[in-house]
């Protein structure tokens, strides 16, 4: 709740938001106040002041009956806006009903209604309105009704298509299984979930309705004398446009300003709504064009490829710090696993290395060296070049990382053409070669196919192939096997292992699944609440982990040998919220060993052996006690 309000406020603080708000207040204010203050001035006939030009008394002159033009234009705001709003409301009610009805009616009737809606959307609404005006007759009431009916199909179509998306969701299926009635499903489940786009659309539609109503009045179908709206004023004033230009120009300006106001308001509403839904999504789904590595001089094997010191990622808008002081190294030819639950900061850590942290995240570090270059100190272009040539990334969902409309071979080739300047032909040949390197059968044929024809495992192979278009010194793989079947997972893991071995690249392998990590990594970093809480060789995972959290994670994996009569091992509680971190050890509230001291002060990450670090006040004595501080501040 708190987050959504701040999201709303943020949009309203933008220049667009501020100007829209000012305009909206002005238009509504004039609509309310003008008839009260200027009513008599606008309607009193003054034969002494007929058809006057600009003067101090009548700023923009008078009409043929001596009435003040500015006053008339301002007073007309109320009728113009009110009619537009009524039109929109009627159109929305009729449209939403028609759009939702197919979900209540049976299949056949529903289809007929949908077809009718689709057909009527094809008619331009103003044309339809003119036609309907013949039926309803002229006058304000007729204009509102005709226009509302003409605009209703748009609402109906929007309602139906957004509702259809919601109707396919699991919670509707669950309601159907509970034999909840169709009408109730529409009222309780569907309408509340499509309200946002409908409101946004309605706001924009007020602007459109305003323009169309003015058009109808101008043509004589709408508001009739002695009432007047802007369209009526325009129609009256246009005849004397050469003598008193303001008579025509003022209502024109008013229509433009008010129309723009409501269309902008719709735009702002869209931003508010989508800004909030963006916030709901995970920050980790950052998809960028995979980067193309060029052979970088990384020195002999075993050299440090990635060195991260005291890395933090902060989201100032939410006041959270999902990564808090992380330090680690990855060497050439090494596979380092990063394990943690969702929200542990593991994916953001990787994103920070690749400069892929989503806006408005702020990345800070005392060191962030990739292939010997401190990425933080480079200019933007140079940084992109270093990242583009030394780093390759493989994401969880290969379908969203590959463009479904471009042939696989072309997508791979593009990498080399952009980053390595290869010719079209050379890049295409290289793409086929790399597809072969990742064991894709008949690579020449496959290169000409679209991603949609690839299975999940094949797509992930193609992504790995893309990451190998040149020789990356570091590959970051973020949950690369999570979306794959268990039998396919093994093949992809083996492929990644081979890639690292053959090319002496370094691999940072991120997963929530410690079992998968144990099959590929030699060293494991365990993350919890934004910090590394343990670093250990994979051989120590099973019996020799030092941190109670690591032990609990290991114990919670169901395996084929466990006693079926016993309950599965679990970790009670849940990780702390990023905006409500405990003062002491962040695992203390869930830790069976925790005491008062643990809750008061956070344990530092200390070295307890070669390639071993742990942040715990109570590591078991058999893995050795704290010896030296590894220089990582875990406090706070």
């Amino acid at each position: 709740m708190r987050r959504s309000t701040s999201g709303r406020a943020a949009v309203l603080r933008t220049p667009l938001g501020i100007s829209t708000l000012v305009l909206l207040v002005a238009v509504v204010g004039v609509a309310v106040v003008a008839p009260l203050v200027l009513g008599s001035r606008a309607e009193t006939i003054d034969v002494a002041a007929m058809d006057q030009g600009m003067s101090a008394q009548h700023l923009f002159g008078t009409d043929p009956l001596g009435r003040d033009l500015l006053a008339r234009t301002l007073v007309a705001t109320r009728l113009s806006v009110v009619l537009a709003v009524i039109t929109t409301v009627v159109a929305a009610v009729v449209g939403v009903l028609a759009g939702a009805l197919p979900f209540v009616l049976g299949r056949r009737l529903g289809r007929l209604l949908v077809a009718t809606i689709n057909l009527s959307v094809a008619f331009p609404s103003l044309l339809l309105a003119l036609f309907l005006a013949m039926i309803f007759g002229v006058g304000a009431q007729g204009a509102v009704l005709t226009l509302a009916l003409a605009m209703a199909p748009g609402f109906a179509r929007l309602t139906h298509s957004t509702a259809a998306a919601v109707a396919g969701s699991d919670y509707i299926a669950a309601a159907r299984l509970l034999r909840v009635g169709r009408a109730r499903i529409v009222l309780r489940h569907i309408l509340p979930n499509i309200a946002e786009p409908l409101v946004v659309n309605a706001t924009t539609t007020v602007g459109t309705a305003l323009l169309s109503l003015s058009g109808l009045s101008y043509l004589g179908f709408g508001v009739q004398a002695p009432d007047y709206d802007w369209g009526r004023l325009l129609s009256d004033g246009l005849g004397s446009i050469y003598t008193t230009p303001a008579a025509g120009l003022l209502p024109c300006a008013a229509i433009v300003v008010a129309g723009l106001t409501f269309i902008l308001a719709g735009e702002v509403a869209t931003q508010v709504v989508s800004g909030r839904s963006r916030r709901r999504g995970t920050a980790r789904r950052v998809v960028t064009a995979p980067v193309a590595p060029v052979a970088e001089d990384t020195g002999p094997a075993g050299d440090v490829v990635l060195r991260v010191e005291d890395l933090t990622v902060t989201f100032p808008d939410r006041g959270t710090r999902p990564v808090r002081g992380v330090s680690f190294e990855v060497r050439a030819g090494e596979v380092v696993g990063v394990v943690g639950e969702s929200g542990s900061g593991k994916s953001l850590t990787a994103a920070a290395v690749g400069a892929l942290v989503p806006h408005p995240g702020v990345v800070e570090a005392t060191r962030l060296d990739l292939a010997g270059r401190d990425v933080r100190r480079l200019g933007r272009a140079e940084r992109d070049r270093v990242l583009g040539t030394s780093l390759a990334t493989v994401f969880q969902d290969p379908m969203s990382a590959l463009n479904p409309a471009v042939r696989v071979g072309l997508q791979l080739a593009e990498v080399s053409r952009v980053h390595q300047g290869l010719s079209r032909r050379a890049a295409a040949a290289r793409a086929v070669d790399r597809l072969a390197a990742v064991d894709i059968p008949s690579p020449e044929r496959r290169a000409r196919e679209y991603p949609g024809t690839f299975s999940g495992g094949m797509r992930q192979r193609a992504m790995i192939g893309m990451s190998l278009m040149a020789e990356p010194s570091l590959i970051i793989a973020d949950e690369p096997t999570t979306a794959l079947d268990v039998t396919v997972q093994q093949g992809v893991l083996a492929l990644l292992r081979d890639v690292v071995r053959q090319r002496n690249a370094a691999l940072l392998f991120i997963s929530h699944d410690i079992a998968v990590v144990s099959r590929i990594a030699s060293r494991v970093l365990v993350m919890y609440a934004g910090q590394i809480i343990e670093e250990l060789p994979v051989s120590a995972l099973v019996d020799d982990a030092a941190h109670p959290y690591t032990r609990a994670l290991v114990a919670s994996i169901p395996d084929m040998g466990m006693d079926r009569r016993l309950p599965l091992a679990t970790i009670d509680g849940r990780p702390p919220e990023p905006d409500r971190l405990p003062v002491g050890c962040s695992f203390a509230p869930r830790c069976p060993l925790a005491d008062v001291g643990c809750a008061e002060q956070a344990p530092p990450l200390v070295a307890i052996g070669e390639n071993r670090r742990v942040a715990c006040w109570k590591p078991p004595s058999d893995v050795g006690g704290p010896r030296s501080t590894a220089g990582e501040g875990g406090r706070g």
């Binding site: 969701s169 699991d170 919670y171 299926a173 669950a174 309601a175 159907r176 299984l177 509970l178 034999r179 909840v180 309780r188 489940h189 509340p192 979930n193 709901r280 639950e341 969702s342 999940g456 079947d485 268990v486 039998t487 396919v488 997972q489 093994q490 929530h512 699944d513 410690i514 079992a515 998968v516 144990s518 099959r519 994979v538 995972l541 099973v542 609990a552 994670l553 290991v554 919670s556 994996i557 169901p558 395996d559 084929m560 466990m562 079926r564 309950p567 599965l568 091992a569 679990t570 970790i571 009670d572 849940r574």
Partner: protein
């Protein structure tokens, strides 16, 4: 007594040359108070089979029976009383982030299940009692799904399904969207609930180790057919089908 029986179930999508058979002549029995585990990879047809049982996918041929009474059969729309009986089979979905209405409080979601239970078989469950059954704090009644963790949401989904007082519960990959540390708690809970309520369970998962933990019998699906069925211990320890052996080898365990 509540026995779920599938007889010669076929589910086919599309028509003509583009038709694909998702479920190919499957026979399966879930005995009273027992748990049948259904294992297979994506595309094996296990989820489609589950959806067909609860009426979310159309049967091309075959029948679904509850306690010997046909509640669903191909091409025939059952009368209302029979369809209502179908609500005695409830399902918990894979993704707790999409299976709860984001605009509805926990209490309101569960109340829909309670209303179904009351209407269909005069069951008198309460929101508080159900939250207690799934080990959630009764205060959660007034929260919206986005205020809950994945594991908590899955408990709410479980409570909603149980609110209808079902005879059979279908659990379709209910832990695969959850963190490993949460998975165990949800599986333990499901096992406890089965013991407490006596509901029969069709438990679907791609992970044989998870299925082995819960199921009395295991059915292995591949390409739309059940390729192996048997006692859970026997299937996991002496698999007959080579595909079952592949699945066992693929179980993600720590490499020692």
């Amino acid at each position: 007594m509540s026995v779920l029986e599938l007889r010669d179930v076929v589910v086919r999508f599309g028509s003509g040359a583009h038709a694909t058979t998702a479920v190919d002549h499957v026979d399966l029995v879930v005995d009273d108070r027992s748990v049948v585990g259904l294992v297979g990879e994506s595309g094996s047809g296990k989820s489609t089979l589950a959806r067909a049982v609860v009426g979310l996918a159309p049967l091309r041929s075959g029948e679904v029976l509850l306690d010997g009474q046909v509640i669903r059969s191909a091409g025939k729309r059952q009368d209302r009383a029979v369809r209502d009986r179908g609500a005695l089979i409830q399902m918990v979905f894979q993704d707790p982030y999409s299976s709860l209405d984001p605009r509805m409080t926990v209490g309101d979601s569960i109340a829909e299940g309670i209303a179904a239970g009351r209407r269909l078989r005069d069951a008198r469950r309460t929101v508080g009692g159900l939250l207690d059954l799934v080990r959630l704090n009764p205060d959660h009644e007034h929260l919206l799904p986005r205020q809950l963790s994945g594991g908590q949401r899955q408990r709410v989904a479980l409570a909603r399904a149980l609110a209808a007082d079902p005879e059979v519960l279908i659990a379709d990959e209910i832990t695969s969207a959850l963190d490993v540390s949460v998975q165990g708690a949800v599986l333990n809970l499901l096992r406890d609930i089965k013991d407490e309520t006596g509901v029969s369970v069709l438990f679907i998962s791609h992970n044989l180790a998870v299925v082995r933990y819960l199921a009395d019998h295991i059915a292995v699906m591949a390409g739309g057919s059940v390729v192996e069925f048997g006692d859970a211990v026997q299937v996991t320890e002496q698999p007959r089908n080579p595909y079952t052996r592949t699945l066992i080898a693929a179980v993600p365990t720590l490499l020692r």
